[in-house]
């Protein structure tokens, strides 16, 4: 018996027929072809698979499909504002923060949440918010500058 798992992904109502313990990141990528979220560590350490579930940043490698049933999910593909870049996306581009880009879908998800929920976040708050987003290229400084810029201009 498979009742199907109902999800709202970036505003679209979708049904998954996957095994209920399948990690959400695999449903998003393999069933719905949304390849922004990346399964890099599958352990909750790296943040490359981060999505917003009912508004909260969540590593989608650790969420079984069945528990995402009925949830509102936003992936990096669904974060642009009215077809344009959102404030953190624009700031990351302006600060030339991206290198290889592997971590960025997750960075954008975590920082979109930070910018929209903590307008008074400090540099330390940004660093703390990114402890679950590992970047092997940038050394984080430009990412933090971009977050501060987005906060200042949002």
């Amino acid at each position: 018996m498979n009742m199907g798992i109902d999800l709202t992904v970036n505003g679209d109502h979708l049904t998954s027929t996957s095994d209920p313990v399948t990690p959400l990141v695999d449903v998003l990528r393999e069933e719905f072809h949304l390849t922004g979220a990346k399964p890099v560590c599958r352990e909750g350490f790296c943040g490359a698979c981060m999505v917003l579930i009912d508004g909260d940043p969540t590593p989608s490698c650790l969420v079984p499909a069945a528990l995402a049933n009925g949830c509102d999910i936003r992936t990096v593909e669904g974060l642009a504002a009215n077809g344009g870049l959102n404030p953190i996306q624009a700031a990351l581009e302006a600060c030339d923060a991206v290198q290889c880009g592997m971590c960025f879908p997750g960075m954008v998800v975590s920082l979109t949440h930070l910018v929209s929920t903590r307008p008074d976040a400090t540099r330390e708050d940004i660093r703390a918010a990114l402890t679950g987003n590992i970047c092997r290229c940038t050394g984080y400084e430009r990412i933090i500058e971009a977050a501060l810029l987005a906060l200042a201009t949002a």
Binding site: M1, N2, M3, S18, P20, G44, L62, V63, L67
Partner: protein
């Protein structure tokens, strides 16, 4: 009883396959206990999932039935009374830290809950999952709750059973099917408490070693009672009673406590792992004791956030 049962006979990932897996989202504690009882050894509670979902990485099979307990209101409740705090097993680390933040006597537990893992994991991982995971030696809340003399209540169809956390740690791996950690009961004794942990890198890492400390002082400023618990060094966290005895009756003094810890640390047999050799976990204990005792004077301790 209506159950929201999602299952399917074929796994999308043949590597992980048992033939059929299901997740039952329990609406209430009795419903969860019924499902666990009926599922027997093939079933397990699913709390935050942050340990269970990593089973494939540990080359462990998944269970064929998971009973999700994260939506059960009484398991998500925290009750703060004059003489005890009761924490539902499905309370997340983030919720626990937020609720206890203003209660100084629980600084050790607030620190354990708010410094472990990373922000997103702390909104998922639960206190019950932290205490129930036998194979996880680095659990922060275990030593924190040991030094607070916590009890746990186990629920089953046969009724509740209360026992000390210390005893629970010896029986958790053989907890009979159908039994569930219901809540943690922490007495309020107005003690001064602190959690000192050493991750390898500054952020997001498992702690190499943990020292949790709770003391009460008499009017002269001498230690009247002391509880010290050590986590992550051995496979299961435990109290360090000889160090407790060494502290009692003396003023709190970081240098003297460090010396005592250095003398007594030989009673620990560190666990080996690819990232940290066994001897190192034991070697850092005196320094963690120093940080813990010193922080009881100054108020701040532990590792920092951020990369």
């Amino acid at each position: 009883m209506e159950r929201r049962l999602t299952d399917q006979t074929e796994s999308s990932d043949a590597m992980q396959a048992p033939a059929s897996r299901s997740v039952y989202i329990a609406p209430s504690l009795p419903a969860a206990l019924d499902a666990l009882d009926e599922g027997g050894a093939a079933a397990a509670p699913f709390a935050g999932g942050t340990w269970i979902m990593r089973a494939p990485i540990r080359h462990e099979p998944l269970k064929s039935l998971y009973v999700a307990i994260g939506k059960i209101p009484e398991l998500r409740a925290i009750k703060v009374d004059a003489d005890a705090v009761e924490v539902g097993a499905a309370v997340t680390h983030a919720a626990l830290a937020a609720t206890l933040a203003e209660l100084a006597e629980f600084d050790v537990l607030t620190a354990a809950a708010s410094r472990s893992a990373n922000p997103a994991i702390r909104t998922m991982a639960t206190i019950g999952g932290n205490l129930a995971t036998t194979a996880f030696a680095a659990a922060d809340c275990v030593p924190a709750l040991l030094c607070l003399d916590a009890d746990v209540e186990i629920a089953s169809r046969g009724g509740p059973e209360r026992t000390s956390l210390e005893r629970f740690l010896t029986m958790r791996s053989t907890l009979a099917p159908g039994r569930l950690l219901h809540r943690i009961i922490v007495p309020r004794r107005g003690r001064r408490t602190v959690h000192a942990r050493l991750p390898l890198r500054q952020a997001g890492d498992y702690p190499t070693a943990i020292v949790s400390l709770a003391v009460s002082l008499d009017e002269a400023g001498h230690v009247r009672t002391a509880r010290v618990a050590v986590g992550s060094v051995e496979p299961v966290a435990r109290r360090w009673q000889r160090l407790e005895h060494a502290l009692v009756g003396h003023p709190l003094n970081a240098a003297k406590a460090t010396d005592a810890a250095a003398e007594l640390a030989g009673e620990f047999t560190g666990r080996d792992s690819p990232d940290v050799p066994a001897w190192y976990r034991v070697r850092v204990l005196p320094a963690l004791v120093r940080r813990a005792v010193a922080a009881l004077g100054s108020g701040a301790v532990g590792d920092e956030h951020g990369h």
